[in-house]
């Protein structure tokens, strides 16, 4: 008990080095879909974050084995830190985070991380073209929340590719977008009766219809599975988007397209 008390005092006094691991406490959890959960965290030494950044989580097993994963921050700057995690069937970490972790539990994290895939409305006033594949919507949702928070009126379009409507994360929130924000879904596997929206994987024709004209100097953020990001980024560049105006974040083979 004494050792714990000393360690606690030391943790409080040691100045936070950039990139240092720290212990956070789970504040609350919210199931967004049957396989996706948002975890709100109380982080004692959080320096604030930018829209689009992520944090790293580290789990340590009894034998000292570490597993580290990166998760995009789902909340806007100024809001309590939250991450949204998708449960992967063969995952090492996500089943624990989405099914075992409870309010009051502690977790090690470091962050915020990222200076490239961030949106700063003060630095760029271009219309936003946000393209999400599955769980790639998480950092883009943080961007939209930040847009509302600062009262930005830049036009924004979110093209969100998911398998079915039931897989849509933040569905209620996206059903009531802020002024100037359009949400366009493409349901790639199954559509409800009467669905008149897109019903296929994102392709050049869809991008041409949805993307802001190049003349408006838009800024694109593309996030999701690697295949999705590669295809959408290539389509945007083919449309004339300067490559430096297309920001990409690839989640690998995991995550729903």
């Amino acid at each position: 008990m004494e050792g714990t008390a000393v360690r606690g005092r030391l943790n409080d006094q040691v100045p936070r080095k950039t990139g240092a691991w720290q212990t956070a406490t789970v504040d609350s959890v919210l199931d967004e879909t049957p396989t996706v959960r948002t975890i709100a965290l109380a982080v004692p030494h959080w320096p604030g974050h930018q829209a689009g950044q992520h944090l790293d989580i580290r789990l340590t097993a009894d034998d000292g084995y570490h597993a580290e994963r990166s998760y995009s921050i789902a909340s806007a700057p100024g809001e309590p830190v939250a991450i949204t995690v998708e449960r992967l069937d063969d995952g090492e970490v996500s089943p624990y985070l989405t099914e075992e972790l409870r309010p009051g539990d502690e977790i090690e994290l470091r962050g915020p991380i990222g200076g490239y895939f961030v949106w700063d409305p003060a630095a760029d006033s271009g219309p936003l073209l946000l393209a999400a594949g599955g769980s790639g919507v998480v950092p883009l949702r943080a961007i939209l929340r930040y847009r509302s928070e600062v009262g930005s009126s830049v036009p924004a379009r979110l093209l969100y590719s998911v398998r079915t409507l039931a897989d849509v994360i933040y569905r209620a929130e996206l059903a009531r977008p802020a002024d100037g924000v359009e949400v366009i879904y493409t349901l790639t596997r199954k559509q409800p009766a009467g669905w008149t929206g897109y019903a296929r994987r994102v392709d050049q024709a869809m991008i041409t219809e949805v993307a802001w004209p190049v003349a408006m100097a838009p800024l694109a953020y593309v996030c999701g599975p690697t295949n999705f990001v590669e295809a959408v980024a290539a389509d945007l560049v083919a449309l004339g988007y300067p490559p430096q105006r297309v920001k990409t974040e690839r989640f690998g083979a995991t995550g729903t397209p």
Partner: protein
């Protein structure tokens, strides 16, 4: 540009590792490939994560730009493939 495998990541995935190694945020920094001269943000480089270490390759010519390996608790970095990293 040659097509990459499904599970290849990008420099965003090693943002934390780069802070650990360089002491500062690096994903927006521009790196120049020593083989083909392609210059671009670290965030857009091709990243391969393995238990043994991390390999960062040029997206255009596949040249190995950076290798990170942890040896007895110390992260070793080989950046010979980069001509320049601002």
């Amino acid at each position: 540009m040659r097509p990459l495998e499904d599970d290849v990541l990008d420099g965003n995935a090693i943002g934390g590792l780069l802070i650990e190694v360089f002491g500062t945020e690096m994903t927006a920094e521009v790196g120049t490939c020593g083989s083909c001269g392609t210059a671009g943000p670290v965030a857009e480089m091709a990243v391969y994560l393995a238990r043994m270490g991390t390999i960062v390759r040029c997206r255009v010519c596949d040249n190995v730009l950076m290798v990170f390996v942890e040896v007895r608790g110390v992260t070793c970095v080989d950046m010979r493939g980069l001509a320049q990293l601002l």
